[in-house]
């Protein structure tokens, strides 16, 4: 681990430019960051860190990390070419994270959500006990606080170094989703490059709404596993976000520049179900009666929300006007 001095002359030319793996154009790093890590030439979506993802999706300074101290053990005493604890430590130094996922609460245009996020650089974003625990707690908090749950996935799958304990994280993270169903709390799954294996074969495929980033690699089996087992190469672009959309496993492919606004609209369009308070109104005191509809209209005319979610708001005439034929 090289020691970084705050004022060292680290900005060598090699650090200032990144080559786009898709169109091979050279992108100035500052420009790449300003462009949300999307290639300005061809639109290739580079992977994002958890920090960049939070800044992209959540209201400024609204994110509060929870369970930051959770840490992996080495339940199997796993040792391949390197011991598991050494691999963990290397990933920690590289990313500044404790494990491959982080969860917390934050706001999107003022609406509070529970959100989990992955960093693929931490051991391939693999899900072991800690990642599973964080996501399960994220879903349980969404349930207890009746706020929508969101997970931004980027993972190679279950973490081999924790064996079947990792495999069972598929069930551990999926079990709370049944409770969210019963309680009427929505779960939005966002698939980014890459989302494969056990993460896709559990909660990530079970979003009430599933969004994916353009060209993201999304599939059950890695290309190597597939060609090794089946003896045939997967066709080009087969496990892409666009292919999943075509086959009906993703609701929308959303470019990164629109992700936040689509997410914000989704939260409004898929609200947490009202709690039955026995008075025939829903949770926020609004039914479909005249007063409820009026307060809905008032909210829309309020503009503050509608502006940020990018929906065209048409002027609604005063009370009763809607039924009358236009003059």
């Amino acid at each position: 681990m090289p020691i970084k001095f705050p004022f060292s002359r680290r900005a060598a030319p090699t650090d200032a430019w990144t080559m786009c793996p898709s169109c091979e154009s050279q992108i100035f790093n500052r420009q790449l960051e300003r462009n949300l890590r999307v290639c300005p030439t061809c639109g290739h979506h580079f992977r994002m860190s958890i920090g960049e993802r939070i800044d992209l999706l959540l209201d400024e300074s609204s994110f509060v990390e929870r369970d930051a101290g959770l840490e992996s053990g080495d339940p199997l005493g796993f040792h391949d070419q390197k011991p598991y604890p050494e691999r963990l430590e290397a990933s920690r130094l590289k990313t500044g994270l404790r494990d491959a996922a982080v969860w917390g609460t934050g706001r999107i245009d003022g609406r509070t959500v529970a959100i989990g996020l992955f960093d693929f650089r931490f051991m391939g974003g693999s899900m072991g006990s800690v990642v599973g625990e964080k996501l399960a707690r994220c879903f349980e908090a969404a349930l207890a606080e009746r706020i929508p749950a969101i997970v931004v996935s980027a993972s190679g799958g279950a973490r081999m170094q924790e064996g079947t304990l990792s495999l069972l994280q598929l069930a551990k993270t999926t079990a709370p989703l049944g409770r969210l169903d019963a309680a009427g709390v929505p779960f939005i799954s966002i698939l980014t490059d890459p989302t494969t294996g056990g993460v896709l074969a559990s909660f990530a495929s079970l979003g009430d709404l599933i969004l994916a980033e353009p060209k993201a690699l999304i599939g059950f089996a890695g290309a190597r596993v597939a060609s090794g087992t089946v003896g045939e190469e997967l066709p080009e672009g087969f496990q892409s976000a666009e292919s999943l959309l075509e086959h009906g496993f993703v609701d929308q492919v959303v470019p990164r520049s629109e992700l936040r606004s689509v997410l914000s609209r989704s939260l409004r369009l898929l609200p947490v179900a009202p709690v039955d308070d026995g008075e025939g109104t829903n949770g926020d005191g609004r039914g479909w009666g005249p007063i409820g509809v009026l307060s809905g209209i008032a909210e829309r005319l309020g503009g503050a929300v509608s502006e940020t979610i990018g929906i065209e708001v048409e002027k609604v005439p005063e009370r009763g006007g809607a039924e009358e034929p236009p003059a």
Binding site: D80, G96, G197
Partner: protein, 332 residues
């Protein structure tokens, strides 16, 4: 907070341990090992096989239907490998397509409707990974099977007969009690796959098998399996009838235990079982990497300039670096 207590083992498995683990894998894959349909007629008094997912086709790699166990109706669902080349090709070597899992889901819903306990039998190298399986949503089929099982209102007893291969096994393997035959194995990825990724050589499969602690005895120690069923003589392949008798006895005992629970308690204990799996340490919240604010920010803050946040942005705390270098450490 865990079932997954650390195993007390030496960091690198001894050559003897590697050989022992690999022998178990070979036994679990033995061509004469009893399959689901070999055991079903020996365990149950009647069995009516049901076919098809009512959506696409019937997947012969998963079999199932209602059966009578000591006169009581239960739902049986299991992977089905073949016993020779022809039957293995017909059964796709016991590796299900998405429609196999969707058939299983249909049978589970029926069991739920009629209040019948669900008994599953695991014996697969894994869910089939080919293009057609991807196209029809292999991941979604596994995920929704797992989710369905976590909420079924009837008792579920899982028995691992041979290979418990990753997501394809877990898709019908979420249970209140998990039994395993002595020479069965259970793993997150096949030892060959693990070896190819972490050792970069399929020849390291025995090493990978030992490192993943995939034998029934080790899975018992990890809390993933609740009970190991002894096999007759040199292994289950030697005596199907005796194996069936032991499996039947273990299933009856397990059903006796879980059937005493009311539905709510049953679901709560299944949830608690899953929530407790894994080894997690609660430590202090880590110190954030010290931030060296830029000159622009320091001046901006001092002068309260607009557009300069008072707190560091998260992208400064967790920035991105070079990506994509860790492809091979990931998961399955």
């Amino acid at each position: 907070m865990t079932n997954g207590t650390p195993l007390t083992v030496s960091p690198t498995p001894t050559p003897e341990a590697v050989e022992a683990a690999w022998r178990r894998v070979q036994l679990a894959r033995h061509p004469q090992r009893p399959r689901t349909l070999d055991l079903v007629p020996r365990i149950f008094d009647d069995f009516l096989e049901m076919h098809g997912d009512r959506s696409f086709r019937d997947d012969p790699a998963i079999v199932g239907g209602p059966a009578l166990l000591e006169g009581r109706a239960v739902m049986v669902i299991g992977h089905q490998k073949g016993n020779d080349t022809d039957s293995n090709i017909f059964r796709n070597f016991g590796s299900p397509y998405p429609e196999g899992f969707r058939k299983a889901q249909r049978l589970m819903r029926l069991a739920d409707k009629l209040g019948m306990p669900v008994l599953t039998f695991l014996d697969t190298a894994g869910a089939f990974p080919g293009p057609a399986a991807e196209e029809r949503g292999q991941a979604e089929a596994i995920a929704s099977s797992i989710k369905l099982m976590t909420g079924l209102q009837v008792p579920i007893v899982v028995t691992i007969l041979g290979e418990g291969g990753s997501g394809g096994a877990l898709a019908i393997g979420v249970g209140d009690i998990v039994l395993a035959l002595e020479n069965a194995v259970y793993s997150v990825i096949s030892p060959e796959g693990c070896a190819a990724i972490l050792w970069r050589s399929a020849a390291a499969a025995p090493m990978a098998a030992a490192a993943m602690r995939m034998t029934a005895a080790e899975q018992l120690e990890l809390g993933v399996v609740d009970e190991v069923i002894d096999e007759p003589g040199e292994g289950a392949h030697a005596d199907h009838a005796a194996t069936a008798a032991s499996v039947k006895k273990a299933i009856l005992a397990a059903l006796g235990r879980v059937s005493q629970l009311e539905t709510e308690a049953l679901l709560a204990s299944r949830y608690a079982r899953l929530r407790g799996i894994g080894l997690v340490r609660e430590t202090e919240r880590p110190a954030r990497p010290s931030e060296v604010p830029s000159l622009r920010r320091r001046i901006g803050r001092l002068l309260h300039l607009p557009g300069i946040p008072s707190r560091p942005r998260w992208s400064e705390i967790w920035p991105s670096g070079d990506d994509g270098t860790e492809k091979d450490e990931g998961g399955a």
